[in-house]
């Protein structure tokens, strides 16, 4: 791991661990967001320790689910979307072989 102190709490999560963290650090996070959502996604992806970040076309983003679509605040939807985008890349990275 490049920076064990930075990812201390993340490595404690059983499904990630040291092996998963090393996969994250070898991976590129593709973040299909823009504006505030992209800012949030990039911040979380950097914190997770991805080797590289790439802004992907928004068309690659999953559709809004019912609960996300029901949020009345555009800011809340953006922060939620950015966090979920980063999480999606964490999931993909730790499952990669």
């Amino acid at each position: 791991m490049k920076d064990p102190e930075l990812v201390l709490r993340q490595v404690l999560v059983a499904e990630i661990g040291v092996e998963g963290q090393e996969r994250i650090e070898r991976a590129t996070a593709r973040l299909p967001c823009e504006g505030l959502a992209l800012e949030v996604a990039e911040r979380y992806a950097r914190g997770a320790g991805f080797g590289e970040l790439v802004a992907a076309p928004k068309s690659e983003a999953p559709p809004l689910d019912e609960v996300e679509a029901s949020l009345g605040s555009e800011a809340a939807r953006s922060v939620l979307r950015g966090a979920r985008a980063a999480l999606g890349e964490v999931r993909a990275a730790i499952r990669a072989r």
Partner: protein
């Protein structure tokens, strides 16, 4: 001027400026909220940075409150931010929660979470008093949970979680958290606070939001009031802030 004017209610009292408080504040500022009271007594550590997205390397070692204020003012120079360098404790909780129109509980331990719930509900019990709505947000491992309670409860946090958990609750020092899960919790907490403030459409009360980051499943479930709730039930037993109610595992839903 960087604090709410004397005698003026802030819009939001944020208890905890960490993993959930940071994205909640970011959301609120982006939505136009400009008046905060913030309660925290920690300093920024490097191990915070993977999830506490308001802070950067230059903030490590600084009081979290100062880093929080600076981050908010960079985004919104007209914001007013009052800093309260303490933890939420029984001696001061009752007064603190009355300083804002809505409280966001973004703490990292069950004792403070139950204390926030009780203090907000009890604030409305005195004759002529104004109750305080509260939004509770938690994140541990892959899971985020957010609920809100009106000033009158029914339902309230204790309708769902009754009392402090026993010794087998996840420990924040050992369970860990995936950083963006805190972002989900913070965004949802801010959404409910914005609804309470009338800044976003939608019903703010009576539902539990839960998110599982392993499946990316976000759910909203109706929360029913319990008649026998110790806080807001027909014969509620909690009538004052009693320190003995908040003894127990001090560290549980780490963020």
């Amino acid at each position: 001027m960087h604090a709410p004017r004397s005698g003026e209610l802030a819009e939001v009292l944020l208890v905890g400026a960490g993993g959930i408080g940071a994205p909640a504040a970011l959301t609120l500022v982006e939505a136009g909220v400009r008046s905060f009271v913030v309660v925290d007594d920690d300093t920024v550590e490097r191990s915070n940075l993977h999830r506490q997205i308001l802070y950067g390397e230059a903030d490590v070692g600084r009081p979290k409150l100062e880093a929080f204020r600076d981050a908010v003012l960079r985004r919104a120079p007209d914001a007013r931010v009052e800093l309260v360098a303490t933890r939420l404790v029984p001696e001061t909780a009752a007064e603190l929660v009355t300083r804002a129109r809505v409280v966001i509980d973004a703490v990292d331990n069950f004792a403070s979470r139950f204390l926030a719930a009780d203090a907000c509900w009890l604030a409305g019990r005195a004759a002529g008093a104004r109750g305080v709505p509260v939004v509770h947000a938690a994140a541990v491992r892959w899971v985020a949970t957010v609920i809100s309670s009106s000033p009158g409860g029914r339902p309230c946090y204790r309708c769902l979680f009754e009392d402090l958990p026993g010794g087998d609750a996840p420990d924040c020092a050992t369970a860990g958290v995936v950083g963006p899960v805190c972002g989900v919790a913070g965004a949802l907490a801010a959404e409910l606070a914005l609804r309470i403030l009338g800044r976003a459409p939608g019903e703010p009360y009576g539902q539990v939001y839960s998110y599982d980051g392993r499946s990316d499943r976000l759910r909203r479930v109706a929360l029913r009031a319990r008649k026998d709730c110790a806080l807001c039930g027909d014969e509620g037993r909690i009538e004052r802030i009693d320190e003995a109610l908040y003894l127990g595992p001090s560290c549980a839903e780490g963020a």
